[in-house]
């Protein structure tokens, strides 16, 4: 009843029939590459365990029982807002008190402190733990503070894109200060990165590597009243603000990606993106990027639309293909409101769609520079093998992963000759918490490829099986 035949995102799907050309032994090749990558990772496993002590512990504990998982997440979520040691130890006792027996002895001891001196020690210990956990995924509070990490990322042979974490934007003053932080970030990157010797090209003829600096922008944080009911003003203001960033990015010689968000806002985001980068001023900007989410039922239509946009514009754009980060949120909203969800309901459909859209991107790589954003070895290997089978060189696309999420996988693909870009969030701990919690949730979700690989020890064959659209999602 509430469907929308007119919206450009919801027309019948022209790319539905976009199937792979039949390539002999294609699946075998995907499995071969996947196995090579996984073999490299499993060797590295011991080292990640020691380096990422807290998050490993956290994930192990939280896969034990659902209630322990819920309480651990709630605890991590609240910790940064607590100031006193008393408040911290009180919250720990309240959240984990009953579960203490299921934790290792030392941890249980920490939860029932005998005296207030130990309270302080425990509070600072837990705080440190959370900080360390956050530090694994967040490179620093400010761009300047993160320069060291960014430089070492380049030194290790990775490209990066920087994202600024922020609180939910509720006022125009906050929107403005967020915009300023981005401008400052671009200035800092622009004045430092080009001088690094690490900034010399990682892969000469890869257009993705034509600029050493890159930022990713959460557009909705740049305007406090974003809403589909306020669409006109939202698109206008966000276009104006994105144009300021685009201009700044140009001066810093930085690439810019506009992140995708939840479906309700994406229409506004894509409109602003297209408005800015088809304007006389910015239509010639090379490889400006936006993000397509494969878990969306409308992703194929969107991608076809972006292809025509790129043609009209006359200058290629970059597409980061991801599965999508808002599945739980959107599914809940849809259920609570009795709406049908715009997303696929099964993980396998999102995976299958990712592969279908990967092929579409590889076949159109000259207009839509493909950036495959995933930690899933099957998804990425499929894209790489498809490119090879079509005679598209490694220099015609790149892979992207989140900083701290799957370093061994990133290394393995780099080792295999791919350009790999790490997505590096920066920001203070409090707003960073939301990001941290989402990463931890992603790692511990029952459907997560990383969990299957690192914690559940699924067999290599199971990990590399070709995904199929679920009948319910057809």
């Amino acid at each position: 009843m509430l469907s929308d035949p007119q919206s450009h995102l919801q027309r019948p799907d022209p790319a539905t029939e976009y199937l792979p050309a039949t390539i002999p032994s294609f699946e075998d090749k995907v499995t071969d590459l996947g196995k090579k990558i996984l073999a490299g990772i499993r060797v590295e496993r011991a080292s990640i365990l020691s380096k990422q002590y807290w998050s490993q512990r956290f994930m192990e504990w939280s896969t034990k029982t659902p209630s322990l998982k819920r309480n651990l997440f709630r605890l991590v979520d609240v910790l940064p807002s607590l100031e006193s040691s008393d408040a911290i130890s009180d919250h720990i006792a309240q959240y984990l008190g009953d579960e203490a027996s299921t934790l290792p002895t030392w941890a249980a001891w920490g939860i029932r402190p005998p005296g207030s001196a130990t309270k302080a020690i425990m509070a600072s210990g837990v705080r440190l733990g959370v900080r360390q956990m956050a530090a694994q995924f967040i490179a620093g509070e400010t761009p300047r503070a993160a320069l060291g990490t960014l430089r070492s990322i380049r030194r290790s042979g990775f490209a990066f894109t920087v994202d600024l974490l922020g609180e939910y934007c509720v006022s125009e003053r906050e929107a403005e200060s967020y915009l300023k932080r981005y401008i400052e970030c671009l200035t800092v990157l622009g004045s430092s990165v080009p001088k690094w010797r690490e900034s010399r090209s990682l892969m000469q003829d890869n257009p993705g590597d034509s600029r050493a600096a890159c930022v990713s922008v959460k557009l909705t944080a740049l305007y406090s009243q974003v809403s589909s009911l306020n669409q006109k003003r939202s698109v206008t203001l966000l276009s104006d603000r994105l144009a300021l960033l685009a201009n700044e990015a140009r001066q810093a010689n930085a690439q810019i990606y506009v992140d995708a968000e939840d479906s309700a806002n994406n229409e506004i985001i894509y409109k602003a993106f297209k408005r800015v980068f088809s304007s006389a001023e910015f239509r010639g900007d090379f490889l400006v990027g936006c993000v397509v989410q494969a878990y969306s039922r409308h992703a194929a239509t969107l991608l076809t639309d972006l292809l025509s946009f790129s043609k009209e514009r006359g200058c290629p754009i970059a597409i980061r293909l991801v599965k999508g980060a808002y599945w739980d949120h959107e599914t809940t909203v849809a259920r609570q409101n009795g709406w049908s969800s715009p997303l696929f309901s099964h993980k396998s459909s999102a995976d299958a769609n990712f592969e279908r859209l990967s092929r579409f991107l590889i076949d159109n790589h000259e207009r839509l520079f493909p950036a495959f954003g995933s930690h899933n070895v099957r998804s990425l290997s499929h894209a790489c093998v498809y490119a090879e089978s079509r005679g598209v060189p490694k220099s015609a696309f790149e892979l992207q992963m989140l900083f701290g999420m799957a370093d061994p996988i990133a290394r393995a693909y780099r080792h295999h000759g791919h350009l790999v870009r790490l997505y590096v969030p920066l920001g203070p701990l409090l707003p960073g918490m939301g990001y941290l919690v989402r990463r931890l949730l992603e790692n511990t979700s029952n459907e997560s490829f990383l969990r299957h690989t690192f914690f559940d020890d699924h067999t290599t064959d199971a990990l590399l099986t070709a995904p199929q659209f679920d009948p319910e999602d057809r």
Binding site: Q94, Y168, V170
Partner: protein, 530 residues
């Protein structure tokens, strides 16, 4: 997870552009009718529209130069005739099987679905409700129809109470007789509908008087109910002034039940007038009254600030604070107070204030000139004694009161303790969560309340001690849904059980016990056959 037994009518998903267009088109249709034929509402008695010389012109609160519609107010004679018609009609209606009465409600719900956006548009224009909230108003009315239709079956067959040999005992529920429904303007469709269909489905003859500010919406509801099949002599619609027609209705000797939603002052008048028997009055009048609130939200030291700010903005300023469930007191625990308040002030100041027909509007106008004058006076007065932050005015011609925050008013002041019914919120700080709970419940009202906290012990304490009708933890405190969150308060917030809840219809019926001696000259069927 419990599977819900009742599925609420979905809100319209306005992130879908074709849905936005549906409502835009409906607004245009309404405007073209208004500017050509004009919008008119009449009393309806026995299914007939009445014209009267008693004309009320309703203006559009968003653009007060525009005359929105013409209302024919009912006269005292109309009141008398309405009662006469219903006295006759209600007997047939009470004998109509419940299944038939219930299916009329379901039919009404379907008509509402079909006319969803036309109804939305009328609500938007007449009372100045923003898009989403007007849409929720119609959804709630649909829910009331479906939910009460379903609940009414509980009264369909006699309930056996015990089975002693030689005696049969049953409890049956009968309609009370004639119900008078006095509806408010703030949920002009949903609440008027909920009270009316509750009275009807339980078999009562029913007279609806809408608020004068929402007579057009009330008229649309009345016509819709008749179209759905409510017999013309079981239902009458009488628009008019509260002091005049409202009083006449309430005081009439032919009334058995009064169902009222509105201010505490009028509610108390109705309750005392109902308690005074008039000559020839046939029953003690039963009153169901949903009154005001002075609802508090507590923000704990460890609250998620982003969530709290968004929840407070929605609760305090949605529909310009003109909901009995709205938040009007904010109590912040601990040192974060001033920083939190400054963030809230900035956020409130950026909310979009404007004509309700514009889709982006978050804070529309207040309902009429009286409300506008009263709120302006209150704000001016508060300004002389404490810090008052008022968002910038938008320069439009309607009755706009921008979001207003009264910082640290004396706790003895009227701003802190009395319902203001506008986009105005008072804030204060306390040292501990217990202080916050004490302050929150120190009010004659007990309707809604909210807590933002991530401290399990404090949330538990709130569940036990924050005694309000509807308590919300870590979310906004408005927007109760039928069946999911049955709605209503206690103390000065009202008498009667919760609208949209399982006990609501019980108030519209009277239980009768019937005992029959089944033995005949020593022959007792149960004993003989055992």
């Amino acid at each position: 997870m419990n599977t819900p037994f009742f599925v609420n009518e979905p809100f319209t998903d306005f992130s879908v552009s074709s849905n936005r267009k549906l409502l835009r088109d409906a607004l245009e249709r309404l405007e073209s009718t208004r500017s050509t034929a004009g919008l008119v509402a009449y009393p309806i008695i026995n299914g007939q529209r009445r014209t009267t010389p008693n004309i009320f012109e309703r203006e559009d609160p968003s653009t007060k130069d525009i005359q929105l519609g013409t209302i024919h107010f009912a006269s005292r004679d109309d009141v008398d005739e309405a009662f006469s018609s219903i006295e006759e009609g209600r007997l047939g209606w009470q004998d109509t099987p419940i299944s038939e009465r219930a299916s009329i409600l379901n039919r009404a719900a379907s008509i509402m679905q079909d006319r969803r956006h036309d109804l939305n548009a009328l609500i938007i224009r007449e009372v100045g409700k923003p898009w989403k909230e007007a849409d929720a108003d119609v959804a709630e009315a649909i829910d009331f129809c479906r939910y009460y239709a379903e609940r009414a079956f509980h009264f369909a067959s006699p309930i056996a109470t015990s089975d002693i040999p030689g005696e049969e005992n049953v409890l049956v529920y009968h309609p009370r007789g004639t119900a008078v429904v006095i509806a408010p303007w703030n949920f002009p469709f949903a609440i008027a509908c909920g009270m009316t269909v509750a009275a009807l489905v339980t078999g009562n003859g029913t007279i609806l008087k809408p608020a004068e500010q929402s007579s057009l919406v009330g008229f649309a509801l009345a016509e819709l109910l008749l179209a759905a099949g409510v017999p013309p002599n079981a239902f009458a619609f009488l628009p008019g002034q509260g002091e005049d027609i409202g009083r006449a209705l309430v005081e009439d000797k032919r009334v058995d039940l009064i169902c009222f939603t509105g201010s505490r002052a009028v509610g108390q008048q109705i309750i005392s007038s109902a308690a005074t028997p008039y000559p020839e009055q046939r029953a003690i009048k039963r009153v169901i009254a949903e009154l005001g609130g002075k609802n508090a939200i507590i923000v704990d030291e460890d609250a998620d600030e982003d969530d709290a700010i968004r929840g407070i903005l929605a609760s305090a300023f949605g529909f310009a604070g003109q909901k009995c469930s709205a938040c009007s007191r904010l109590i912040v625990v601990g040192k974060q107070y001033s920083r939190f308040i400054e963030r809230l002030i900035e956020a409130a100041a950026d909310l979009i204030v404007g004509p309700s027909a514009q889709p982006e509007t978050v804070v529309g106008p207040v309902v009429d000139d009286d409300a506008y004058q009263r709120l302006n006076r209150t704000i001016e007065h508060a300004r002389q004694e404490c810090r008052v932050v008022v968002a910038a005015r938008n320069g439009s011609e309607g009755y706009f009161i921008p979001p207003t925050i009264i910082v640290d008013p004396p706790l003895t002041s009227s701003w802190w303790s009395e319902e203001l019914f506008g986009p105005v919120i008072c804030t204060t700080s306390v040292a501990t969560f217990d202080d916050a709970l004490r302050l929150a419940t120190d009010s004659p009202y007990a309707l809604t309340g909210g807590v933002f906290s991530r401290n399990p012990r404090n949330l538990e304490a709130a569940k036990r001690h924050f005694a309000v009708g509807n308590l919300y933890l870590n979310r906004a405190i408005t927007g109760a849904l039928v069946a999911r969150q049955p709605f209503g308060g206690s103390r000065m917030s009202g008498i009667g059980s919760k609208a949209g809840g399982p006990d609501y219809l019980l108030q519209f019926v009277e239980p009768r016990t019937i005992t029959e001696n089944t033995s005949r000259r020593g022959f007792v069927p149960e004993i003989a056959s055992s």
